[in-house]
Symmetry: C2
Subunit: 190 residues, 2 copies
DNA sequence: CATTTTTATTAAACCAGTTTAACGACTTAA
DNA sequence: TTAAGTCGTTAAACTGGTTTAATAAAAATG
């Protein structure tokens, strides 16, 4: 759990007692490829830290898969909408490969944040960080063509293209598998 | 500043002393229509609360306006990317009508959050709230057609359509003024 | 390793948007 | 009160994607 500890400390200093306090609540979860943390209808009462692997955050709409995000090494994640608002999940959180995450229950998160000002601050700053990353995503969705989005992904997260099947990448970019295939063809020609 | 006080208290209880402490830092800003809080290149060192009016959060890209969000009554906002990362702004924050906001400097936000666990918690929860709203925006951008997006906006923020010129609405929805005009025509026919 | 299943490519027809340009209505300023 | 600018609509030609379907290639399975 050394990675998780360093991740927390990357946001703000936390004294050893407070760190130990929150760590008592974390439990390790191993997922095989295809294993799910959350599926629609589930209660979402955990916040996760992705240590090893990749988790696909997606929903099914009229049978069609809509990928919202791929969470990879060293990020916090959950189905935040459902988690925050205590609503049943509408998304899946599913491992695209063998994956290790650490989970902490919401009730214990709240306990830890109430008990420690430093942990509360960690909570605020990590949320701020999540916000900024999400916002950047909106910027891209709004302003770029599909080709530019694909090239950007290729550049920013090259390993993702290797790890994840192309039809999921297509969905993540907001187009069809056929559409992505055409873009790729266009790119090699030029 | 009663609205601002209630907004803060809607997230978490804050004792009077701590509330007074943070309130000493807020200052009122009046903007005429077209007035700007931020423009590209500016240092973004304030967090704002919109009391009355409407602020357009947009950028210019090859001379073309790209609207990311309209902030209206009773929300916190800033150019968060620039604010958090201490980078120069790339966006405008511009009043689309006469507007009143309250501003607090980043340095004083940090002071208040360090001084008070309750205020720190308010900071975390308001950030969480902002995240959820932003995330909802991504969902819409990803999954819906332009027509559905327009209908949703009409339904969710009907006043916005009245207050803001149509070419800005078009940009917010991610299409051209011509495109939006065609959609509107299609809708009245059916 | 042979079979089945899953994934990626290609082609053809189609369509919801874009771009450009012209026009009319409304607003603003001199 | 005319002139200039802004805003929304329409039309025509275009384009970058979609859909559907067939096929090929690769991966999983017994």
């Amino acid at each position: 759990m050394e990675n998780l500890r360093n991740k927390i400390l990357s946001y703000t200093p936390v004294n050893v007692a407070d760190m130990d306090y929150i760590f008592q609540f974390y439990r390790k979860i191993r997922l095989r490829k295809g294993g799910k943390l959350i599926k629609p209808g589930d209660r979402v009462d955990c916040f996760y830290y992705l240590d090893v692997g990749c988790v696909n955050y997606y929903k099914l709409e009229q049978g069609e898969i809509k990928v919202l995000e791929f969470y990879t090494e060293d990020v916090f994640f959950t189905d935040l909408n459902a988690y925050v608002l205590d609503k049943p999940a509408t998304y899946f959180l599913e491992a695209t490969e063998d994956t290790i995450v650490y989970a902490i229950e919401k009730i214990n998160v709240e306990k830890a944040f109430r008990m420690s000002h430093q942990l509360e601050r960690f909570g605020r700053l990590s949320m701020q960080d999540a916000f900024v990353r999400t916002f950047t995503r909106i910027e891209r969705l709004n302003n770029r063509t599909y080709e530019e989005r694909y090239l950007r992904l290729l550049n920013k997260r090259p390993s993702l293209i290797q790890r994840v099947p192309q039809y999921l990448i297509a969905s993540y970019l907001g187009l069809t598998p056929v559409g992505l295939s055409k873009i790729r063809k266009r790119l090699v020609k030029n």
